[in-house]
C-alpha cells in the first residue's frame, strides 16, 4: 500500500493513498465537524461544515470529498476556518426550531453539539423560518421537516442501504424539502419503514416514534444484541432504561448489517412486554389450553408423533420451519424430520 505524508495543523501524519482529508484527520484524532458525512454512505459534500484550509487551494475545500495528497498542508482550526463553520452553523440554527428541551434528539443531536462547540446562538440571522406540517401518520417514524437541515443522508440511506429510493429533495433553494414523491406522508408512500433514514439523521427531523418521551440518551444504556426475528443475525442496540427496553437503535459496528435493519428488527420490540405473549407450553385439555411444563409437552409430542408414524407411516407427517429460527435450528429441524421421522416433508416459511 502506498502511503502519503501530509501536514495537518503543523503535525506530520501518514495515511494510505486514497484517504480523504477528513479521514486523515479522524485517523489522527483531529476533530472535524460533519453533518452530511457518514462512512457507510457516499459523500455529497453538501453541508460544508467540514471545510478546512489547504495551502494552494482556492476557497475552503470540504475535507470529506478532498483527497489527501503528498505534502499537503492542511489547517483545520485556524480562525478563518472556525469562522466559516460558525457562519454555516448560525445559518442552520437560524432556520431550526429551538425547542431542544422537548426534542427527542436532545443529547444526541449533532447540530446542538457543534453549535455549543462553536458558540452559536441562532440570533445572528433573524428572518424567514420554515413552517411545515409534521408527518406522524405512521406508527414508526416521526418526521418533523422543520428540524431538517437538508444534509441528504436519509436520501442516501434509502437508496444506498435499503435500495428503495423513496426519498429525494423537492423544491429549490430555501424552500428545499426532503420527502417521498409528491411530498406524500411516509405511510402513503412505498416506504418499507426499515428506519435506515432515522438511523443516519443527525438532528431531530426523523426519530423513532415509540421512543418519544420514553427516555433521554444519557438515561439509556445500550445493550448490543442479535435480532431474534430471523436467521440473518443482525446486531443492534437495545435501548434500556430502568431495566426496560424502550426501543432499538442501529449499532454502526454491527458486523453483519451495519446500520441496516428491517421494520421488524427496528420497530418490532413492543412484543417483549405484550400481554398476549406465550411464556409456557400450552396443552389442550378438554378443549381448553392449559399451561404445562416443557417435559410434559415434549413427552406428549414425542408420543403422538410416534403413534402417527406407526399407524399411518412417516409420510403422514410434515413440518414447516420458520424464518424466526437460526440457520442452525432450521438445519436441525430438517435433520430431525429426515433422520428421526423418516420423511422429506419439510418446508420453510420463507420458501413458500
Amino acid at each position: 500500500m502506498e502511503w502519503l505524508t501530509l501536514t495537518i495543523d503543523g503535525r506530520e501524519v501518514s495515511v494510505p493513498k486514497g484517504t480523504t482529508v477528513l479521514d486523515a484527520c479522524r485517523m489522527n484524532n483531529i476533530p472535524i465537524p460533519t453533518l452530511c458525512h457518514a462512512p457507510e454512505l457516499t459523500s455529497a459534500g453538501a453541508c460544508r461544515l467540514c471545510v478546512v484550509q489547504i495551502e494552494g487551494m482556492r476557497n475552503l475545500p470540504p475535507s470529506c470529498v478532498t483527497q489527501a495528497t503528498q505534502g499537503m498542508k492542511v489547517e483545520t482550526q485556524n480562525p478563518k476556518v472556525r469562522n466559516a463553520r460558525k457562519v454555516i452553523l448560525e445559518l442552520l440554527v437560524a432556520n431550526h426550531p429551538l425547542d431542544c428541551m422537548t426534542c427527542q434528539k436532545m443529547g444526541d443531536c449533532s447540530l446542538a453539539e457543534y453549535a455549543y462547540d462553536y458558540g452559536v446562538t441562532g440570533e445572528v440571522y433573524q428572518g424567514e423560518k420554515r413552517n411545515l406540517p409534521i408527518d406522524s401518520g405512521n406508527p414508526f417514524i416521526l418526521r418533523d421537516q422543520n428540524k431538517c437541515i437538508l444534509c441528504g443522508k436519509c436520501i442516501k440511506a434509502c437508496s444506498e442501504i435499503q435500495g428503495k429510493s423513496i426519498l429525494d429533495f423537492s423544491h429549490r433553494g430555501f424552500d428545499t424539502q426532503v420527502g417521498p414523491a409528491f411530498n406524500l406522508p411516509y405511510n402513503e408512500s412505498d416506504c418499507d419503514f426499515c428506519g435506515s433514514c432515522v438511523s443516519v439523521c443527525p438532528v431531530g427531523a426523523l426519530v423513532e416514534k415509540q421512543m418519544v418521551g420514553k427516555g433521554r440518551p444519557w438515561e439509556v444504556s445500550k445493550v448490543q444484541t442479535t435480532c431474534p426475528f430471523c436467521g440473518v443475525g443482525c446486531n443492534f442496540d437495545l435501548n434500556v432504561k430502568d431495566g426496560k427496553v424502550i426501543g432499538v437503535t442501529s449499532n454502526p459496528d454491527a458486523p453483519v448489517n451495519g446500520k441496516a435493519l428491517c421494520v421488524k428488527g427496528r420497530f418490532g420490540m413492543d412484543m417483549i412486554y405484550s400481554d398476549n405473549r406465550v411464556t409456557t407450553p400450552l396443552i389442550r385439555k378438554d378443549g381448553v389450553l392449559v399451561p404445562a411444563e416443557w417435559d410434559e409437552a415434549l413427552d406428549l409430542i414425542a408420543t403422538k408423533l410416534g403413534e402417527i408414524k406407526k399407524t399411518y407411516g412417516p409420510n403422514s407427517i410434515a413440518a414447516l420451519s420458520s424464518a424466526h429460527c437460526t440457520n442452525e435450528e432450521n438445519y436441525l429441524m430438517q435433520k430431525f424430520m429426515r433422520a428421526v421421522i423418516g420423511t422429506n416433508n419439510i418446508d420453510h416459511c420463507a420458501r413458500t
Partner: protein, 598 residues
C-alpha cells in the same frame, strides 16, 4: 436601380415580440403590389443586435438601417427605397451626439466599433437555410479538419488561438479539450451549454436563432479533436425559436452529410441531439446540466471527478457554451494566428455583450477583448439615456459585480475584470445612472440568486436568503449598525464555502457594491436616506410653499388623500407623511415643480 436588393428583417425573439413577423408578410405583399418581386427579396434573419430599436430592417447592399418599423411604414419604405431611391428619414436612427439621422450602418456608432466574428452571420443570413451558411464559408472549417488535419493538429490550432471559454470562467478551451481527449474510453460525449440564464443576457439565444450551423460546425470540429461521437445541445425550453432553428439546422446538416456516420467519407461519426432544460439557472453549471440530461434533479455535484474524466453517463465529456463553440469554425477556417490578432495577450478574440440598462443604444454587441468599458458604453452605447450621469456598470450578471465611473477605462478581459471584483461572465452589461440605488441593485441580484439556488449546500441555500433579507431591511430603512459587518462576513463565507459557482459568486454583487459604493449603504443605515432617491420607504415628499400655486391638482390626484390645503382660506397645501404611500403621483401632476422628493 440595383439588381438583387434584399431586405433583411430581424426575426429574432426581440424583434419578433415587437411585431416583426407580420412585417415580413406585409413587405412581400407590398413588393408584389409595386411589381418589384424580380429585384427585391425579403429575408427573415436572426438577431441584428439592435433589439431596443426593433423591429429593425436592413436594405442590402446599401446597408441602410430602419428602426422601429411598423406594418404601416412598409409601403412608404418600399416606395422611397426602391422606386424613388430615397430614405424614409423619420425611421432612421438619430445619433444622440449630433442629433442627426444616420442611415448607413457603417456610420452608426452602435455598429461601427463592433467586430463581428461570432455574430458574422447573425442578422445577415436566413438561419433556416443551410445554403446561406455554406455560401458564407460555412462548414469549410470541418472540411479542412477532416480532409487534412489530424485530431491533434485541430486541438493544437485551438490551443494556439488562445480561445477561452465564453461561459464565464474563461478556462482555455484547447486545454479543456485536451483533458477529455486524454481520458481513455470507448465512448465520449461533447455538450453545448445553451442554458443561458443570466438576467439580461441573450447572446447564446441569438447565435442559436440566427446562426445555428456555426454551433453545429464548432461541435463537429470539437468532437473530431476530442474523439467523441455523440453530442447534446442543452437548451432551455424558454428558447423555442432557438430550439426550432437548431432542429432545422441539425436535420439539414444530416441531409447534407455533415452529421451522422462516416461524415464526408472520412470515417468520422457524430450524432447531435437537442435536450430541452426546464429552466433552472443552476443547470448551467456543468455537473448539474449533466444530471439533468440523465433525468436526475439538476443539482451540482462535487468535482473531482471532472466531466473530462467522468461526465455524462459516467463517460468523459467536454462541455462548452454556445459562443465558445461558435468561435471554433472561424479559428479553423482562418487559422489561430488570424484569431490571435483580436483581443489582448491573455484574452484573445471577441466577446459578445448584452448591453442593457440606462444607455441610449441597447442590444447585442461584439467587440474585441480589451475594449474599454467607456468605448462600449459611450461609443457603441451612445451614452446615458436622457443625458443623466453614469453611475455604475453591472457586469457578469448575478455572479458579477458593479464597477464605478473611475473604472470605465478598464479593458474588458477576463483577468482585468476579475481583479476589479467583477467578471466577464456570460457577458451581461447593465448600465446604471444616478437614479439607480446600488443597495437595491444588490438586493435585486440576490433575489435572483436565492430563487435559483438549488438547495444542496448550506451556505448558498440558507445564506442567499439571509443576505437578501439584510439588504431588503436596509432598503426599507430598517438597517442596523452591525448589518454591514454581518453582511460582509456572510458574503465572504458563502463565497469561500459554497459547492458550485452559483453559490461562490452569488455574493459578488454585494462584495462589489460594498467595495465601491459603501457610502450608499451607510446613508441608508445611518441617515435613513437613499442617495439615488430610489428606495420608497426612505423617501419623503414635501410641498414648497413658495412655488405652490394652490392649484390643488396634487391633492385631487393623491390616491390616499393625504394632501390638504385650501386656496380660499389661503391654507397652504401640505402632505401628511403618515398617510403618504410615496407613490410620486403629486410630483408627476405638479406643473410648478413645487413638490420635492428627498
Amino acid at each position: 436601380m440595383a439588381e438583387n436588393q434584399r431586405i433583411l428583417v430581424c426575426a429574432g425573439t426581440g424583434c419578433a415580440s415587437s411585431g416583426a413577423l407580420p412585417i415580413i408578410d406585409v413587405l412581400n405583399n407590398e413588393i408584389k403590389r409595386q411589381g418589384l418581386e424580380k429585384t427585391v427579396s425579403v429575408v427573415g434573419t436572426g438577431c441584428q443586435g439592435f433589439c431596443e430599436k426593433g423591429p429593425t430592417l436592413v436594405i442590402e447592399p446599401q446597408q441602410i438601417l430602419y428602426t422601429r418599423v411598423t406594418e404601416e411604414d412598409v409601403a412608404e419604405i418600399i416606395e422611397q427605397e426602391f422606386i424613388k431611391g430615397e430614405r424614409v428619414e423619420r425611421l432612421l436612427l438619430v445619433d444622440q451626439a449630433t442629433q442627426k439621422p444616420v442611415s448607413s450602418m457603417g456610420d452608426i456608432r452602435f455598429f461601427a466599433k463592433q467586430h463581428r466574428i461570432v455574430l458574422h452571420n447573425c442578422g445577415v443570413i436566413d438561419p433556416k437555410k443551410i445554403e446561406e451558411y455554406t455560401a458564407r464559408d460555412g462548414y469549410k472549417g470541418i472540411v479542412k479538419a477532416l480532409k487534412g488535419m489530424s485530431p491533434e493538429e485541430v486541438m493544437e490550432e485551438v490551443k494556439k488561438s488562445g480561445l477561452r471559454g465564453r461561459g464565464g470562467a474563461g478556462f482555455p478551451t484547447g486545454l479543456k479539450w485536451g483533458f477529455c481527449r486524454q481520458t481513455p474510453s470507448d465512448k465520449k460525449y461533447i455538450i453545448c451549454n445553451a442554458d443561458e440564464g443570466d438576467p439580461g443576457a441573450f447572446m447564446d439565444r441569438s447565435v442559436l436563432e440566427g446562426d445555428p450551423h456555426s454551433v453545429i460546425e464548432g461541435m463537429l470540429i470539437g468532437a473530431y479533436a476530442i474523439g467523441a461521437d455523440e453530442g447534446y445541445v442543452y437548451c432551455r425550453a424558454e428558447y423555442p425559436l432557438a430550439i426550432k432553428h437548431l432542429g432545422i439546422a441539425i436535420k439539414q446538416a444530416e441531409e447534407a452529410g455533415y452529421l451522422g456516420d462516416n461524415i464526408l467519407g472520412s470515417g468520422f461519426n457524430f450524432h447531435l441531439k437537442i435536450f430541452e432544460g426546464a429552466g433552472a439557472f443552476v443547470c448551467g453549471e456543468e455537473t448539474a446540466l449533466m444530471a439533468s440530461i440523465e433525468g436526475k434533479r439538476g443539482m451540482p455535484r462535487v468535482r473531482p471527478p471532472f466531466p473530462a474524466v467522468s461526465g455524462l453517463w459516467g463517460k468523459p465529456t467536454n462541455i462548452n457554451n454556445v459562443e465558445t463553440w461558435s468561435n471554433i469554425p472561424h479559428i479553423l477556417r482562418n487559422g489561430a494566428e488570424w484569431y490571435g490578432q483580436f483581443g489582448t495577450e491573455k484574452s484573445k478574440g471577441t466577446k459578445i455583450f448584452a448591453l442593457t440598462g440606462k444607455v441610449n443604444n441597447t442590444g447585442l454587441v461584439e467587440v474585441p477583448m480589451g475594449t474599454t468599458l467607456r468605448e462600449i458604453i459611450f461609443d457603441i452605447g451612445d451614452g446615458i439615456q436622457g443625458g443623466k450621469k453614469f453611475k455604475a456598470v453591472q457586469i457578469g450578471g448575478p455572479s458579477g459585480g458593479c464597477l464605478p465611473e473611475d473604472m470605465l477605462d478598464l479593458a474588458v478581459d477576463y483577468d482585468t475584470l476579475t481583479q476589479a471584483g467583477a467578471m466577464v461572465g456570460s457577458g451581461g452589461l447593465v448600465i446604471m445612472d444616478e437614479t439607480t440605488c446600488m443597495v437595491d441593485i444588490a438586493r435585486y441580484f440576490l433575489n435572483f440568486s436565492k430563487k435559483e439556488s438549488c438547495g444542496k449546500c448550506t451556505p448558498c441555500r440558507e445564506g442567499t436568503t439571509r443576505m437578501y433579507e439584510i439588504l431588503d431591511r436596509i432598503t426599507k430603512g430598517e438597517g442596523k449598525e452591525e448589518d454591514l459587518d454581518t453582511l460582509e462576513n456572510l458574503a465572504i463565507t458563502i463565497k469561500e464555502t459554497s459547492l458550485c459557482g452559483l453559490g461562490q459568486f452569488a455574493p459578488s454583487p454585494i462584495l462589489a457594491t460594498l467595495k465601491y459604493f459603501r457610502h450608499e449603504y451607510e446613508a441608508h443605515i445611518h441617515d435613513h436616506k437613499c442617495p439615488a432617491h430610489n428606495c420608497t420607504a426612505l423617501l419623503s415628499y414635501s410641498i414648497d410653499v413658495e412655488k405652490c400655486k394652490m392649484c390643488s391638482l396634487c391633492a385631487k390626484n393623491c390616491p390616499t388623500n393625504c394632501i390638504s390645503g385650501d386656496k380660499k382660506t389661503n391654507t397652504p397645501y401640505v402632505i401628511d407623511e403618515e398617510k403618504c404611500i410615496k407613490c410620486g403621483t403629486c410630483i408627476e401632476k405638479c406643473k410648478f415643480g413645487a413638490v420635492t422628493r428627498a
